[in-house]
Structures are given as structure tokens and as C-alpha cells.
Amino acid sequence: MKPFDYIRADSTTHATRAAGQGANFIAGGTNLLDLMKLEVMAPHKLVDINRLDLHQITEVDGGLRIGALVSNSDLAADMTVRKQYPVLSEALLAGASGQLRNKATTGGNLLQRTRCYYFYDTAMPCNKREPGTGCQAMEGATRLHAILGTSDACIASHPSDMAVAMRLLDAVVEIESAGGAVRSVPLSEFYRLPGQTPHIETVLEPSDLIIAVTLPAPAKGAQTYRKVRDRASYAFAMVSVAARVQMDEGTITDAALAFGGIGSQPWRNPAVEKALIGQKPSPELFAKAADILLADAKPQKDNAFKVPLTRRTLIATLKELCGKDAA
């Protein structure tokens, strides 16, 4: 690890000012310190934000405001989350392990970097780590890589489970910038597609601090998170589906679907949801939804399995939520 200077922020103003001087925020540190040890990231300065007053979960306007420093463990165990937003609790508990979740924070989880093997290996070319050097993953080992929202410069997937559930729940990110101005960005507009600039992952400016994530009032319907991975626990998603379906007298009256492991960002496609709403569940309908989702999929040699796996996972999830008579 490269040497660095450290400062502990005692206010958000102090934190954003320090970031303005070139410091990286450190929250739980479970992703940043890992990447610093490998020198994938090598900040000269760290500003520790753990003492900021961003640890609360509060109910607002029928929804929930989650402080950026709420730990993944505390968020998963929160009674309101478990009752009103069970998909979020399930997604959190499907990620990492208990000891990591105890430290990992809400803001840090949204901003965790990809698990692309070549991004992690500083001996390899990688457009995300070093813009313009190329992408070693193309034609390489791509088991963890994305099939949707990729570009010819980068095919990395976003690794977060939590963010997939938050995408489903129409979360909004609250951001404070240097000078104290606060703005809200829907999670749907928070991440950027890789295009030719895969190193720019979000709309955040360097000194922007995430202060909270808000969830609107819970929408009706049953929710679930289904994660498919290489072992039963403690592995990143090959494919995951966060889903909410509302049924009325045998008809799907509302549906929302978000996907992990397959997209360059937590993935959602409104056309898939539109195809389901107002219809009676059937194998044909579910197959059509999968067709729409995967129409633009660009698999690599190594991760072509994700196309049928996503299809099966989506169909299984819909069957579960639509009830037994669905198919």
C-alpha cells in the first residue's frame, strides 16, 4: 500500500472540503482498503467520514431515509426494512459475510468497484483503472462480467446486491457538494454507462459526499431477491433478480424487476415490466419478458451461460411471485 495522509472529518463541510483538497472518503473501508493494498487505487489522502452524523434510519413522508453510514448489517436488520422493503433486507443478507456487512456502509456499497479480475490486476491493461490502456477482459475470463449496458471499452459488471434492490425500490441518492449544496439524484440516473469512459462510474464530482439514500413509500405487491452464484453463500452474483409483483384476481396489476450480475450497472428495463402489467401470468408471458430483457445482450465466450441463466432465474422468480397457478 502506498503511504497516505489521514484526517478525520467532524462535519460534512469538513469532509467535502478535505475531498476538495484531493482526499478520498473512507467509510467502512472494506472495498477501498482492499483496492489500496493492491494499488488499484492509490489516494494520497484519506478523509475518514465515520464520525459524521449519518448513521440514522428515519421514516419520512411514508418512505425511509437511510443515512449514508448506516451499516449493511443494521439496514438488513431494521424492522421497517424487513417489513416494508423485504427485498432490500434479503439482498443485503445475500451479499458478502456478516463481518463485512458489520463495517460496510450504505454509501460505500453503492460505490464499490467492479470485481473484474483484470481491474484488480495492475499488470493488466484496463480502461477503467488506466484509461486508454485497453480491456484485457474482452476474450478473457468473463464469468463475472456484464452482458447488458457494456461498451467496446469495458464489459465490467456492477457487483452490488444492495444497489439492485434499491434500483427496484426507486431509491434516490442525496448528495452534498463542497459549499454545502444538497441535491437528489434518482438511482436510475446515478450510474453512468461505460461508453468510452468506463473510469467515470457515477454522476458524482470528486468532492461530492453521499449523505443519505431515500426510499419512497413501499409499493404494493410481493417482493423477493433471488441470487444465483457459484456457491450457496459468500460469492458475488452470476445473476440476481430483485422483483416486486402485485396480483389482482389472477392478473398482474403491477410489476418491477431489477437485475444484478448481468449489467454494467444495477439493471432495470421498463419495457420488461410494461410487457407484464395487465397480463395473466403464463409461461409464454414470462418467456416474452425474458426475450425483451435479453434482446440486446452481448455475451462473451465465457459468460454466454448468463443468457439462459438469466432467463431461467427471471422465470423462476416470476413464478414464485405470481403464485402456483402461474405456470
Binding site: M1, P3, F4, D5, Y6, I7, R8, D10, A18, Q21, A23, I26, G28, G29, T30, L33, D34, K37, L38, K45, L46, D48, N50, R51, S73, A96, S97, G98, Q99, L100, N102, K103, A232, S233, Y234
Partner: protein
């Protein structure tokens, strides 16, 4: 508060119940501080990337990865390692169960296993074998095949429940 950026950080914390003050390099990880500066070698530095769980210690009541936390971040914290938890007797029944069930061979993962398991045992009720496995999925053991570890934790939970402790 540290008022200015610095590469040396003054910290004051409690380790195994004792007050400790130190000046550490900003890049010192908690597990290295415990092992190299305080001589508490129970928590092991192994993968050093948060994967294997051998460095697990308790910070402010929660089991965490000692390799993915800076010592500077532990300022003001209450830290417990396997040494302290052994001295207080908090782990003695679990340690005895590990021995009785052959839940360790080389023993490298054991301190992390014990601290992680203690967090689970502190929760009410007797955890299912599935819950034990899930809780320990972030702690690797390359000798036992886990079965004996799950046995030891399950029997400790059962014995504590019989004694009315948990």
C-alpha cells in the same frame, strides 16, 4: 478530531479491557497494530483482503475484519481479541466444544472462528445448522471440512440453552 492531514495518527482505544494509547502510521491496519505493536498474535493476518476471516476481532461489540480496518479508525473503540475473550472466560465452553469435537486441526482459522461464532451465539435461540454455516461462510477452514466446527457451535448453543444462558 484530527485537525490536519497527517501520516501519523494518535489513537486512544480499549483493547481487551485495557486502555491503550499509541501513535500509528496512517496505513497501519488494525490486525497489524494488534499483532505487531501490542503483541496480540491471536488474530491472524492471512489473505489480507477480507476474504478468509482469520483476522476477525470484535470492535464495539461487532465481529469485523481486522485487515480491512485502519488502526486510526479504531480510535475510541472497544476492541476484543481471542486473547481477551479467553481470559474473561466468555469463550471457554465454546473452546472446550471445539476441542471435544475436533473442530480444529492446524488451528490457524480458530481464533477467527471463535470470535465470529461468539457473535452468533450471543443472539437469542439455538441457531440451525444452516444458520451456523451461513454465519461462518466468511471464515475459511482448510482442514476440518467445517462439519466439526458446526457441531461444536451447535452443541455449545444447545448447552447454553439447557443452562438457561441464551
Amino acid at each position: 478530531m484530527t485537525a490536519v492531514f497527517s501520516d501519523r495518527i494518535d489513537i486512544a482505544l480499549r483493547v481487551n479491557g485495557e486502555e491503550v494509547e499509541a501513535r500509528v502510521p496512517a496505513g497501519r491496519h488494525l490486525v497489524d497494530f494488534l499483532r505487531l505493536d501490542l503483541g496480540l498474535t491471536g488474530a491472524h493476518a492471512s489473505c489480507e483482503h477480507g476474504v478468509c476471516g482469520a483476522c476477525t476481532v470484535k470492535v464495539d461489540g461487532q465481529a469485523i475484519r481486522g485487515c480491512l480496518m485502519l488502526a486510526a479508525q479504531a480510535d475510541g473503540a472497544d476492541v476484543w481479541t481471542v486473547e481477551g475473550l479467553s481470559d474473561t472466560g466468555d469463550l471457554s465452553d465454546l473452546q472446550a466444544a471445539f476441542v471435544a469435537r475436533n473442530a480444529l486441526q492446524c488451528g490457524f482459522c480458530t481464533p477467527g472462528m471463535l470470535v465470529a461464532a461468539q457473535e452468533l451465539l450471543a443472539q437469542p435461540g439455538i441457531p440451525s445448522r444452516h444458520a451456523i454455516r451461513e454465519h461462518l461462510s466468511g471464515n475459511y477452514c482448510r482442514c476440518t471440512g467445517y462439519e466439526a466446527i458446526v457441531d461444536a457451535i451447535e452443541s455449545t448453543a444447545q448447552a447454553r440453552a439447557d443452562r438457561g444462558v441464551a
